[in-house]
Every structure is written in C-alpha cells, then in structure tokens.
C-alpha cells in the first residue's frame, strides 16, 4: 500500500471526479435516449471515440482547441441525426433488442472505419496552451485542463437541466418519456423530438470524447472500453433517470479512481462489484423506477 498523504488522496478524489464527469456526460446521453425512445445505443462509446478523432483533425487544421471543442460535438451530433433518421427510425415498434443489435453493428463499423482512415496507432491530443499548467488550489496543485473539463461538464449539465425544465421542448421531452401515447394523443409530433434528442445525446457523447482525449488518449477502442463503464453507471443509477446518472457516474468515477490508488489490480473489477451490490439491494438502480421498459 502506498504512503497515503492527504494531498495525494485529495488529488485522487479530484481525478475520480473528472472521470466521473466524463461518465456522467455519456450516461446522461444514454439515459435520455433510452428514457424517451427505449433505444439502448450501443454505439454511444464509438461516437464518443468519433468525437475525439474529429476533434483531433479539426485541431490539426485550425490549430485551435477551442474550435475543435465546438466543432467535434456538432459534427458528431449531426452524424447522430443521420443515424436516427436512417438506421434507428425503421426499427421503432420492433422491440428494444433490435436497436441495440443494430447499434452494436454500427459500433463495429465505426471502430474499423476509424482504424482504416486514421491508422491503428493511438493519437495524442494536446490540451490548449492556456490550460497547460497547474492551478494551485491552496491545499494542492491540480492540472488546469482537468479543472476545465469539470467546469465544462457542470455547464453542460446545468444547460441540459434548464433545457429540460424551462423550455417547451424540454417539457415535451419529459412528458414523452413518461407517457408517449398520451403526448401523441395531444397532437404533438414526438418523432421530431426523438430525432432532436437522439442528436443531442450523441453530441454530448462527442463532447465527452474530445474532453477525454487529452486525458485518456485517442484510440479506436477507447469508446468500447468506456461504454461498458457507462452501462454500469446507467444500471447503478437507474435507467432513464438523469439524477441517477449523475450520482452513479460520480460514484463509479470515484470508485475507479480510489481503487486505482489503493489496489490497482482491482480497479477494473471493482465497478462490477459495485454493480452487483446495487442490484442485490435495489434491483431498479439507485434512482430507477421498477419495470421501465422491461
């Protein structure tokens, strides 16, 4: 066991918070898409990966990380709209397994296509010069870029909350995930909302990808690795629950980070143990409603 100084522990907790933030961005997108249209997007991780790659190329052309940070989620989000329109929409009404299977195939295609285009070797995505150093938080120094990632995550979550709670479209989204039939009966075109929400969720995955790129490296399999953790977050938090995704994402992020510190060999296993314990105690997840789309 390493010597535990308070500063090292604090740094590890903070790292867990950042990882948790990335997981939250992914899990919220998954949960939002699932809650509204009962589609589990297996390709979510691969679209996260795509966000990192698009960001890398935009950074290469424009030399601006900020441009990449804006353009990558947009490109990936538009790609998400295309996916919804041409691949997911034909499957509505076929039961939840089919979209899961289709997006599984899609994730294979995306990973291999990226390897063909960008090569198999991992790429390095540098954080912008302005965020290269460390910030002195008083009790410890912490890389500025990580603090920036945390801030962006918080801003996105607040914006999403405002969108869902304060706008008319958000109202329809919330109503649609509670009772789609009733919303339709009121004459609202849910198809367009689904289309938009799917794009929004995918754009958030793309954003998570470019944010995570400088931290975790950019490589074709990066999405597959994290999607399983994001699935665990969704199961632990409760499918379709946004607060659940946030709490569980931070919890899993911290658990991974602390285990990496205290018992590195267990780091990959411990998330599954957390999941098993939660399932035993609360089968529908921390914030989930029992029986949703089962």
């Amino acid at each position: 066991m390493p010597d535990i100084t308070l500063a090292a522990l604090a740094a590890q907790l903070f790292t867990g918070l950042i990882l948790g933030g990335i997981l939250v961005l992914l899990a919220i997108g998954l949960s939002l898409i699932f809650g509204l249209m009962t589609v589990v997007n297996f390709a979510h991780g691969s679209l996260y990966m795509l966000g990192a790659y698009v960001g890398f190329f935009v950074l290469g052309y424009t030399k601006s990380f900020w441009a990449a940070l804006v353009i990558a989620p947009l490109v990936v989000g538009v790609f998400g709209l295309v996916i919804e329109r041409f691949l997911i929409r034909p499957l509505y009404g076929r039961g939840p397994d089919d979209p899961l299977l289709l997006t599984f195939g899609l994730s294979l295609v995306l990973v291999e296509a990226v390897k063909l285009v960008a090569g198999k070797l991992g790429l390095t995505l540098d954080p912008p010069a302005a965020l290269a150093g460390a910030v002195d938080l008083g009790f410890m120094k912490f890389p500025a870029y990580r603090i920036f990632v945390l801030l962006v995550t918080v801003v996105v979550l607040v914006a999403l909350w405002l969108f869902l709670e304060k706008t008319n479209v958000g109202l329809v989204v919330r109503a649609g995930s509670r009772d789609a039939l009733m919303v339709r009966a009121l004459g609202i075109d849910l198809g367009r909302v689904w289309f938009l929400v799917f794009g929004l969720g995918i754009a958030m995955a793309g954003l998570a990808g470019i944010l995570a790129g400088p931290l975790r490296g950019v490589y074709a399999e990066m999405g597959i690795e994290i999607i399983i953790e994001a699935f665990v977050v969704v199961v632990v938090g409760g499918m379709g629950s946004l607060p659940g995704a946030i709490v569980a994402g931070l919890l899993i992020g911290e658990v991974i980070s602390l285990t990496t510190f205290f018992a590195p060999k267990l780091a990959e296993i411990v998330v599954f143990i957390v999941m098993a314990v939660v399932l035993l105690a609360r089968p529908s997840g921390l914030f989930g409603e029992a029986g949703l789309a089962e």
């Binding site: 699932f34 009962t38 589990v40 691949l87 034909p90 499957l91 076929r94 939840p96 397994d97 089919d98 899961l100 299977l101 289709l102 599984f104 195939g105 899609l106 994730s107 294979l108 295609v109 990973v111 291999e112 296509a113 390897k115 063909l116 198999k120 597959i224 399983i228 699935f231 665990v232 969704v234 199961v235 499918m239 060999k265 990959e268 296993i269 998330v271 599954f272 999941m275 098993a276 399932l279 035993l280 089968p283 529908s284 789309a293 089962e294």
Partner: protein, 322 residues
C-alpha cells in the same frame, strides 16, 4: 411466404435436426478448402446453438456469452495443461460444469432485470470474468493465453482412440455436437420447452398461468451456458491454447452476429450463421486483412434492418420457430 421445393427440403431438415447435422458435418471436411475450417464451423455453430437457446427460444439477449465459452475453454484447458489430468472426458466435464456454474452465478444477478438491462448486465459480468482471467495469470496464462494443452487420445473402455489428425478430432467434436443437439431438441419439445416459448412470447401471461418464470429463465440460462461451455472446451482442445480474448466482449459479439445471420429461434440458424460468418471472415481477410469486421458489421446491420429472421429463418419461412 410460399414453400417451394427448397422450402420442403428445409422443412424436412428442420424436422430431423440430429440426423441432418451429423450428415452435413460428416461430409463438410471434404467440401471446404481446409478441414479445420469445418471443425471451426462445427464448434462455433455449437456455441451459437447455446446462445440461441437463451436468445431465440427464451427471448433473453445475452451480450456476455464469451464468459461461458471462456469458462468452458479454461476449465478443460487448465485441468489438462496445469493439473496434468489425462482424461478428455473429465476435462470436458469440468469445462461444462464451470460454464454452467458461471451461468447460474450471472443468471442469479442478471435475471433481476430484463430486456436491455439484461443485455447490459450480462456484458458487464462477462467483462468481470475477462478481467479475472486476465489477472489470474498463474492459472490462465493471462495475456499470453493458456498454452500447453496436450493432444490426448480419447479413452473409451480401455481403448485409446487417437485424435491427432484434424479429421479424427472433427468427428470427435461432431459426436459431442450431436449429443448437445439431441439434448436441446429433447428440452425444446418437452413441457419445459413450451414454458420457454410462452415466456418468450408473453412473460406476464406465463406468470399469470402459474409458471415459475424466473426459475425457467434461470434453467434456460444454465443450460445455454453449459452448451456454450462444451463448445468452448472443444475449441480449447482443437487449438491446444486458450487466448484470453476468448473471454473478451468481442467474442460475445461474434456469437450474437453468427446467430442473427443464421436466424435466431431456429434450430439450424446458429450453424448456418457460424458457417457464413467464418467463410465471410476467411475470404474477406484475404482482401481486407484486419479490416474485415467492417464488412461483417455492415452486413449485420443490413440483416437487422432488412432480414431480421436471418438466412435460415427466411428460407424456412414462418413454419418453424420465428
């Protein structure tokens, strides 16, 4: 769909699964470009058969069948390579048992949730098994794979039948596949099989009819994992090595693809799908080298969209299975 001459042949084949499978795979080594491809099709077909019991017949989509395939392979491989056992019977039994127990363990947790939760949970648990195998390097060889599985002869009542030639091993595997197919057919035709079908079609109604749905699901899971474990154990004997990737999520994905290409919920779909997948992979890798999963992925997407019954399921129309 009308039933042409081909449909009639297909229907006959579907009605006589054991005979058909034995006849087909007995001839196959002489048809395919190299004999080991036939054995590969057989073993992966058996893998898909096990998966299909759970997905096609019980309606539970598992994304973690690599775990049971791997448990079967490691179970048989470890007792032969590390413990010095000399009986293939005992090794196969250990493999099947390990996979069955693994299925019972995961089933206990994963069956608490259904639908897509079930898919995500089985995937997560399979990754747990993968990481455990990865870190238990003393036993499993870890990243290097489990090496040194000996090529033993099969002992039958004092005789010793050598399995060193690919053809001999092929028929050995075929005998096991025939046993598994016969057992599965027996199960599906039993009242228990009818309960599984009822659960697949409408689980609430099956519950209302007084069936213990969860127990039936768990039994189906354990049986499915055991067949999968048998296939994994045979694969370990075939290759004399167990790569750690055997337990990786991509293996789970492969069996999903194979089963759907062939046709879920049909008896031969898994074999047809495994054969299609392997031939496609074999040919495509000549042209595309490592990128062949790109095409497989695209073909799979097209099947989900336009041919959800799969090749075999479409051929036999709506007459058997889904």
């Amino acid at each position: 769909m009308s039933r042409g001459p081909f449909g009639r042949v297909a229907a006959w084949i579907a009605a006589h699964p054991v005979v058909s499978i034995v006849a087909f795979f007995a001839v196959l080594p002489f048809v395919v470009p190299y004999q080991s491809l036939a054995t590969q099709m057989l073993v992966y077909g058996l893998f898909a058969l096990g998966f299909n019991l759970l997905y096609g017949y019980t309606g539970l989509l598992s994304f973690g069948h690599a775990a049971y395939w791997g448990l079967g392979a490691y179970g048989a491989g470890i007792v032969l390579a590390k413990f010095g056992w000399t009986s293939l019977w005992a090794a196969l039994a250990v493999g099947v048992l390990a996979a069955g127990l693994g299925g019972a363990f995961v089933g206990f947790f994963a069956l608490r949730r259904r639908g897509i939760y079930f898919a995500m949970l089985t995937l997560a648990f399979a990754q747990l098994f993968y990481f455990i195998a990865f870190h238990l390097a003393d036993l499993t060889g870890g990243d290097d794979g489990l090496r040194g599985i000996p090529q033993l002869p099969l002992g039958v009542f004092g005789w010793s039948i050598p399995l060193k030639t690919p053809l001999a091993f092929h028929y050995f595997a075929l005998a096991w596949a025939a046993v598994a197919v016969a057992a599965l057919q027996r199960v599906l035709k039993s009242p228990f099989g009818a309960v599984l079908a009822a659960i697949r079609e409408n689980s609430d109604r099956a519950t209302a009819c007084g069936y213990d749905v969860n127990r039936a699901r768990l039994l189906s899971f354990v049986f499915s994992a055991s067949i999968t474990g048998l296939a994994g154990a045979l694969d370990a004997l075939r290759l004399n090595v167990v790569p750690v990737e055997a337990m990786f999520w991509s293996t789970s994905g492969q069996v999903v693809i194979m089963t759907l290409l062939g046709g879920a919920g049909t008896f031969f779909g898994p074999f047809v799908g495994a054969a299609t997948f392997l031939v496609l992979g074999d040919r495509l890798s000549v042209v595309l080298v490592d990128s062949w999963p790109l095409v497989i992925g695209a073909v799979f997407m097209a099947f989900v969209l336009f041919l959800p019954k799969g090749i075999w399921g479409t051929l036999i129309g709506g007459f058997h299975g889904r």
